[in-house]
Amino acid sequence: MSLRGRTVLLTGAARGIGRATAVRLATEGADLVLTDIGRDDPDVPYPLGRTDQLERTARSCREQGASVLTAGMDVRSQDAVDKVVTQALERFGRIDVAVSNAGIGAPAGKATHEFTSAEWSVVLDVNLSGPWRVLKAVAPVMLAQGAGSIINISSTAGLVGYRLFATYVASNHGLIGLTRSAALDYAPFGIRVNAVCPGPVGDDDALECRMTAVVAQALGLSYEEQEAVDLESVPTESLVQPADVAGAVAWLAGDDSRRVTGSVVTVDSGYTVR
């Protein structure tokens, strides 16, 4: 119950890592503002989170005794983000934790120069500018509170390169840079900013986590082939589960990490060790 009385704003909560995180934070006693885009996007080559998926996440959280506010929110719109922050404040009065988890893994599968300008922009806009917009909206709240924890879900793609994934890799590297700079800006004011870098995450039906399939599709591989590649790449011989990422987020959200800021926590089954 380390997050009792705290309010968390979470993006990309409809499924996957976002859902696992939401439920974990609910069991820690947090109240939640769960958001996701809630519709597909022509620039993204795979289905995005739906509102019914978001409501399913919300119900799982309510069953833990959490108070949950849900909202459709595209992290590409500052207005949308600001509006949700306002609603959250009206409902809960405070925002203690903001988790930027919304992200897209494709368009991908091309050599760097082959991406179109639109493909480049959409990935950067969601994965890098999205977390910045969230931060821009919550920082004044946290400054007034004199406390807060901002957690950006980046990726091992924020630490190393991946062939045919320049947009994704660039956006996640950028997100780590954003995290480090912001950590310095707000350190004197009690606001911590950290990043979590999951390695390849195993797909999970209950969480509707399908990123491996998306990556496989982008690279023109079968799901099984991609999973084999992923397994081959990690020394632990088992892939990261969404709950593992959620555990890192729960730690960064709570007071156990009170002196941790600007750090990059890898949860990658040892992927980046070698």
Binding site: G5, E63, G93
Partner: protein, 1018 residues
């Protein structure tokens, strides 16, 4: 799904645009209150929904009420559902945007709870209850489907500025929190039957005053009172003088009159209010509604009492655990419960059948029969019940280490000498003495003394400067089975004569040609000159019976003649055994003998060193008077254990700032007088506490040098700790009220010391001994009453608060001189400070004044210092004069010489054209020919403009003037947050970022704040 009166998205401004404080803060929590009511099952949810919709649509201003209906997929009584409800109850609202929130929780078993949270500035206790009952009423005909507007009173925010101050923490001095504690705590107070019709209100206040009186050493008890039966503008101060002799019934009547007094200003003025650390909320309660009077403590300790229709009184304590220790809260709750019962019982018209009921209620016993205490008084109410008495006694009672003690100092020394015969024991100007040599010299000395006719049990005077011969003489006297009486040759001869005579010392060891009034004068060299052949009965044999007292040291009390404190061998041996392990004292240590033998700090230096095998370096008088020379000696002799009075240490720190050569000191022990930790700041700049440990030890001659020990770190300096630590193993302390009753944790009272250090008593003064050394009926232990003021922490640490008589009274104000002193010490330029009360001419009390003396700053910094002090001291505590001295005058024992300072202050007052501008004199009363410019300076530094420019100058690290634009100077929102914090810390009103944009210059911002200040302090 939220219902909101308007769905116009344009109204929803971005979070960015909302300047100031977008989040609900602790201030909002303190102003929010909650009612929870179950919704009857027969009430249709459509009716409920429409009522909530109507409520939202009626909000004034529009969009200021939010209603939510939320599904909880759990049964009503599931623990997770309960947590959900608790969370909802504790969620504050804010005055400006959403002052009322209704949340309907719908559980999976179809039960429903309505949680209504309101802001006090908009809705009072009664309104909140009526609103909740209206929304949930089962019988809703169309006609009563209206929302009476009086539910929401929009009233002028008179109390707002006062409530807001809850962010200014005002921690109570008695809170003794753990330094790292955070969070809040609520503790219910049991329900007590009381008179119907709200008659219990005065009684609970009277009870609270009785209890708080134990914690504040002040003329009267005061707190913030929020008494809101209906409206919301009833915030005011409440104060009551407490006389323990008063009958409880009379006290309750007085409280009643106070409560009914219309004139709020008569009750208390606003500036007193803003510093109160206790708040009380009284409200009409109902047993069927769950009411929470505040969602964050309004003040560090907030007591809320509700009065049910049938008169039952029940309450809750809310505390900020960063300011009040949970144990203190717990003990307060127990005291409040007993006091409320007693006052209510006493206030009731006496039932003829039960004459002793009130008395029984008062002391918790079943005392029956016509005792005279049938009308109980405040003093009849014991502070603590037996389990709590046991707890406070146990907290500061540290068991002695199990190892057995040697029978005498002589045998203990002989053992060490056996173990390290060739180690240097004593090192003086004339050379070194090894342990074997010192042992032999003392054995020889003992025989010389015997020859001189000294018998075991005799008292032998020793009047020597610090030299090796002094230690030889002491050990000789002890080995001869006698008691030594040290006297300082610097003392006036009258005093020497008197002391020797009072002690009955027929022999005095001294280098003085003749000792006033002594029968037998012995030169110390004669102890060692001629080898006296040993007899069997005294050489190195273990005596079987403990010898007489080891020494008698004369201490001068504030009144009367000095008195000889008789300390037995076992006390000294216990002291060494209690400290050896913790301080890691051992043969590798080098100590100094710095203090006069007549000051018992030297007992510690000599025996602490020699009974643990260390080397004792004798510090000649002239070296002890020169901090520079002394530091050189510390470096040269590689001294590892240093004992200093804080006054002497201040001078050493000063010398250390500019000196070369590395110190080997690993341990500094402070003793002899109260330590102000601010003094250590410059030391910690140069020396890590990991390499050199600093230990503050509180003690008294009557309890054998030391009683408690507290290690000090930079964190203690930052926190301004006054802790002197826990008792040494074998020692115990207790804090008592005037009648000897144990006081709760945090409450200040007299420090009593018991255990292995307690002296035998005063030589030849049985009456005085009986009055200060006593067998305590409460604990069954022997205690010495110190006359020092202290308070106990729940972990057994003691705060030393000065002498009980160090509190002075000036023009009706009670003032702790030490408090003023520590404010000066906080200033970086000040290395030492003292504050004295200077009596007016011919003892005229009305013209008495405070004088401060500081060491360190240049003369031109006096105005800065004055401004610094004015920032934290109320006017009546401001010294009239600040004088810079090269060093503080010290007594022979190295303590600050207050009498000299008072004399100095007197001299300065007689020469108004005082020399060289080192004195900043602002007292027009004393110096009527002065212009009173100082007074203007005072009011000037208190003005917002002055403070703002000072804060901004700090912030931008460059000079800032009244017309400088914050943003043009490079200000941004982060700096604005810092500015707003600093402004709040300076005690100025709050402002929003938005207001800073509108008033970006110090002068404009200052006028804004000034206008606001006038509201705060009419």
């Amino acid at each position: 799904m939220p219902f909101s009166a308007t769905t116009d998205p344009a109204r929803t401004t971005g979070a960015q645009a909302r300047a100031g404080s977008p989040a609900v803060t602790a201030r909002d929590g303190a102003s929010s209150h909650t009612v929870v009511l179950p919704v009857p099952p027969e009430l249709a949810s459509t009716v409920l929904d429409s009522r909530l919709r109507r409520l939202a649509s009626r909000s004034k201003p529009p969009d200021s009420i939010r209603c939510y209906v939320e599904q909880v997929p759990l049964p009503h009584d599931d623990p997770r559902a309960e947590r959900r409800r608790e969370q909802e109850i504790g969620r504050a609202v804010d005055a400006e945007r959403i002052p009322l929130r209704a949340v309907l929780l719908v559980f999976s078993d179809r039960r429903r709870d309505l949680v209504l949270v309101g802001h006090r500035s908009r809705v009072g206790r009664a309104g909140l209850g009526r609103l909740a009952r209206f929304i949930t009423s089962a019988c809703g005909s169309e006609e009563d489907e209206y929302l009476p507007d009086q539910f929401l009173t929009v009233c002028p925010d008179v109390e707002q500025p006062l409530l807001w101050d809850c962010e200014r923490r005002c921690p109570p001095s008695w809170g003794v929190p753990e330094p790292t504690a955070r969070g809040t705590l609520s503790r219910p107070l049991p329900a007590v039957p009381g008179p119907a019709g709200g008659g219990g209100r005065a009684a609970v206040l009277a009870a609270l005053c009785l209890v708080l009186d134990r914690y504040v050493r002040d003329d009267c008890v005061e707190f913030l009172l929020l008494d809101s039966p209906e409206a919301t503008r009833c915030l005011r101060g409440f104060s009551l003088a407490i006389d323990p002799e008063e009958h409880l019934s009379a006290l309750a009547r007085r409280a009643e009159r106070r409560l009914l007094a219309d004139d709020v200003s008569e009750v208390s003025n606003a500036s007193e209010l803003s510093n109160a650390s206790v708040a009380v909320v009284l409200s009409q309660g109902s047993r069927s509604e769950k009411y929470t009077a505040c969602l964050a403590p309004i003040r560090p300790l907030t007591v809320s009492w509700e009065f049910a229709e049938d008169g039952t009184v029940f309450g809750t304590l809310h505390a900020d655990t960063a300011a009040v220790h949970p144990r203190v809260v717990e003990q307060l709750a127990g005291q409040l419960d007993r006091a409320v019962r007693a006052v209510l019982a006493a206030a009731e018209p006496a039932e003829p059948t039960e004459p002793a009921a009130a008395a029984a209620a008062a002391d918790g016993s079943d005392r029956a029969g016509g005792e005279p205490a049938a009308r109980p008084r405040g003093r009849d109410l014991p502070a603590l019940d037996p389990p709590e008495v046991a707890a406070v006694l146990a907290a500061a009672d540290v068991p002695a280490p199990p190892n057995p003690l040697p029978v005498s100092i002589g045998t203990a020394f002989a053992r060490i000498a056996d173990r390290h015969p060739h180690k240097v024991a004593l090192s003086g100007e004339q050379g070194d003495l090894t342990y074997a040599e010192l042992h032999d010299a003392a054995q020889n000395g003992a025989r010389v003394l015997r020859r001189q006719g000294v018998e075991p049990g005799d008292r032998v005077g020793i009047c020597l400067e610090r030299e090796a011969g002094l230690v030889v003489a002491m050990l000789s006297v002890l080995m001869a089975g006698a008691t030594y009486v040290p006297m300082d040759p610097q003392y006036p001869s009258d005093r020497l004569a008197w002391t020797a005579a009072d002690a009955g010392a027929r022999t005095v060891i001294t280098r003085m040609a003749e000792f006033p009034g002594a029968a037998n004068v012995l030169d110390p060299d004669r102890l060692t000159e001629s080898a006296v052949p040993g007899r069997d009965d005294d050489a190195g044999q273990e005596p079987t019976a403990p010898p007489a007292a080891a020494y008698a040291i004369y201490t001068s009390g504030s009144t009367g003649r000095p008195k000889g404190v008789l300390v037995p061998h076992s006390n000294v041996l216990s002291l060494v055994s209690a400290t050896r392990a913790d301080l890691r004292l051992g043969p590798a240590d080098v100590w100094t003998l710095f203090h006069s033998s007549a000051f018992d700090f030297s007992v510690w230096e000599i025996w602490g060193c020699l009974l643990t095998g260390g080397t004792l370096v004798v510090v000649p008088y002239w070296v002890s008077r020169s901090p520079k020379e002394f530091r050189r000696l510390l470096v040269h002799r590689r001294v590892t254990v240093l004992n200093q009075t804080p006054s002497a240490f201040a001078a050493l720190v000063e010398a250390d700032r500019s000196a070369a050569g590395d110190l080997s000191v690993r341990l500094v022990v402070f003793g002899g007088e109260a330590l102000d930790v601010a003094l250590l700041r410059p030391w910690f700049h140069r020396h890590s506490h990991l390499h050199c440990r600093l230990v503050n030890m509180y003690g008294i001659t009557e309890t054998t040098v030391h009683v408690t020990a507290q290690s000090l770190t930079p964190a203690d300096v930052a926190a301004g700790s006054r802790s002197v630590g826990r008792p040494l193993p074998g020692w115990r302390v207790s804090v008592r009220d005037v009648s000897g009753g144990p006081l709760p944790f945090g409450a200040p009272g007299e420090i009593w010391v018991g255990g292995r250090g307690v002296a035998l008593g005063y030589l030849g003064r049985p009456d005085l001994t009986a009055s200060r050394f006593l067998d305590d009926p409460v604990s069954g232990h022997r205690f010495y009453r110190s006359g020092d003021l202290g308070r106990l922490h729940p972990d057994g640490r003691l705060d030393h608060l000065g002498r009980i008589d160090n509190q002075v009274k000036l023009r009706g104000f009670r003032i702790e001189l030490d408090e003023i002193r520590s404010v000066f010490l906080e200033h970086s330029s000040v290395s030492a400070a003292a504050v004295v009360l200077v009596p007016g001419p011919d003892g005229d009390r009305a013209r008495a004044r405070l004088d401060a003396f500081v060491v360190g700053p240049g003369p031109d910094t006096v105005p800065t210092l004055r401004a610094h002090a004015a920032r934290s001291l109320p006017d009546y505590m401001m010294p009239s004069r600040i004088t810079v001295l090269g060093d503080l005058p010290r007594t022979v024992n190295g303590k600050t010489d207050t009498a000299r300072l008072v004399a100095l202050a007197g001299e300065a007052a007689e020469t108004p054209s005082s020399p060289s501008g080192t004195t900043d004199d602002c007292d027009r009363e004393v110096l009527p020919n002065r212009t009173g410019q100082g007074a203007e300076l005072d009011s000037d530094v208190r003005r917002p403009l002055h403070r703002l420019t000072a804060i901004l100058t700090d912030l931008f690290e460059r000079a800032v003037v009244a017309e400088d634009d914050f943003f043009e100077m490079g200000g941004n929102s982060l700096l604005a947050v810092r500015l707003s914090r600093a402004v709040e810390q300076a005690g100025l009103p709050r402002f929003s970022l938005h207001e800073l944009y509108l008033n970006p210059t110090p002068s404009r911002l200052a006028s804004l704040l000034e206008s606001r200040q006038e509201v705060t302090a009419p």
